[in-house]
Symmetry: C2
Subunit: 267 residues, 2 copies
């Protein structure tokens, strides 16, 4: 950039000089050299960088679980979130977390008692609702359970490919796989269809919210369900989820794997 600037200034000086040589009788005029950094384009680029910096910081706070409950993403970050989830950033992050989980899974020495378990959340962990959120402002709109249910009932959510790879790896290693979702029991069969359509099979148990669980915080509901697993003698080695409420609480797994999700927050 500095080189380009230098070249420009040099060139402009050269023109001036050569023109003066060509027309020596023209009165000298003050030469206004607009420094390129003052253009509107440059200012906009700077603002763009500033938004990127602040939204990256916001996303970091989300992923490190530093924020209190939030209902929508910051309005200024809509384009940022869109660029992230539609671009390579999200995919790279998803691949990295699955790779790390795979490395850990392979390092676990499994017992022959069949009690080594891995827990997966479903939405934004195994299945992607990105097509829904694309139509709903990438998290800018307040969550609308009626609209979202319509989407769920289509059973069309695609697999997150890197999660499917991990899922099969974990099954292949001999872990028992538990799917623990905040979806309601009434969506059991549609969820099974969607999972199958997306390539997920052979799980050991699919746990959905029963009528008793409605109204409970996800952290509590999921901890209670994990607690039942450990009471049945399961050792939960890994837990993959896009929400901290999938991962924290009690009866926590040995290692947890937080998939990125800058679009919504479930307490």
């Amino acid at each position: 950039m500095n080189f380009v600037r230098f070249l420009c200034l040099f060139s402009l000086f050269s023109i001036t000089f050569s023109h003066e040589t060509l027309n020596p009788h023209i009165l000298p005029r003050p030469l206004i050299l607009e420094y390129p950094d003052n253009t509107i384009e440059t200012r906009l680029k700077e603002l763009d960088e500033e938004v990127k910096l602040l939204c990256t910081s916001w996303r970091f706070a989300v992923e490190a679980n530093n924020l209190g409950p939030w209902k929508t993403i910051p309005r200024e970050c809509v384009e940022y979130v869109k660029d992230y989830v539609m671009g390579r950033g999200y995919r790279i992050d998803l691949e990295r977390v699955s790779n790390e989980a795979g490395v850990y899974a392979k390092s676990v020495e499994l017992d022959s008692d069949g009690k080594d378990a891995w827990v997966f959340d479903i939405d934004e962990t195994l299945l992607s609702n990105l097509p829904y959120y694309q139509e709903h402002g990438y998290g800018l709109e307040i969550f609308d359970s009626v609209e979202f249910d319509k989407w769920v009932e289509k059973a069309n959510a695609p697999a997150i490919e890197s999660s499917l790879k991990l899922y099969e790896e974990v099954l292949g290693l001999g872990f028992k796989v538990f799917l623990l979702t905040g979806r309601s029991e009434k969506h059991r069969s549609i969820t099974v269809d969607n999972l199958n359509n997306a390539g997920f099979q052979n799980w050991d148990k699919l746990i959905l919210r029963s009528s008793d669980d409605h109204g409970k915080l996800a952290t509590i509901y999921k901890s209670e369900k994990r607690s039942e697993m450990t009471e049945e003698g399961y050792r939960i080695h890994g837990n993959s989820g896009d929400q901290w409420s999938d991962l924290l609480g009690f009866s926590m797994s040995n290692r947890s794997f937080k998939l990125p999700n800058p679009m919504y927050y479930i307490p």
Copy 2:
């Protein structure tokens, strides 16, 4: 940038043209106009963007606790980490986490029994060792406890300003403040000096590793110490630390605040 390019091309054309006017007898030469997008500079910029993308992904994996234990930062990310910690990114992230913690602290209804507590880690939480890491590759060098001890014994680590602000806010609200550090008991007096020099005062207890605690994982050591607090009747509302081993384990705080640290990992 496009405008600058246009200006340059225009200027270069002008020079060529004016020179030809000045020297009409020079033979015309083929004018090679390299399109700027193919320049080495542009390729380097693309590579730079790629490194930034991958190192951002790595940093998020660190902050979301997705990585297994690591000893040094990736070699490719040295410049990235340097730019982050020396630039505005780190400062903005530090300020955000303190602000979030402050909002939460103010929302807690304190009891009159004086048992409402907040736990702070010290290194990279209250005090910054950035001057040390600047001299040691920003985390690229394997941790050298002898060298680091020399730095600690200078008692010169500056305060992280946003943490000092939070610290005073939390004290002002009436929380009991516990400092829980992985530093050794032998460094008690130098640590007190450093904390005081940096503006930290009036904590309730400074807990350092005793000889019994050496060799314990930080997660265990810190959980045990928090457990002692809760056994004494303290309610740990908030916990601020730059390592997940400050925050996870047992006797966890109600809310935890993960300060950024892309330079080192303590299990």
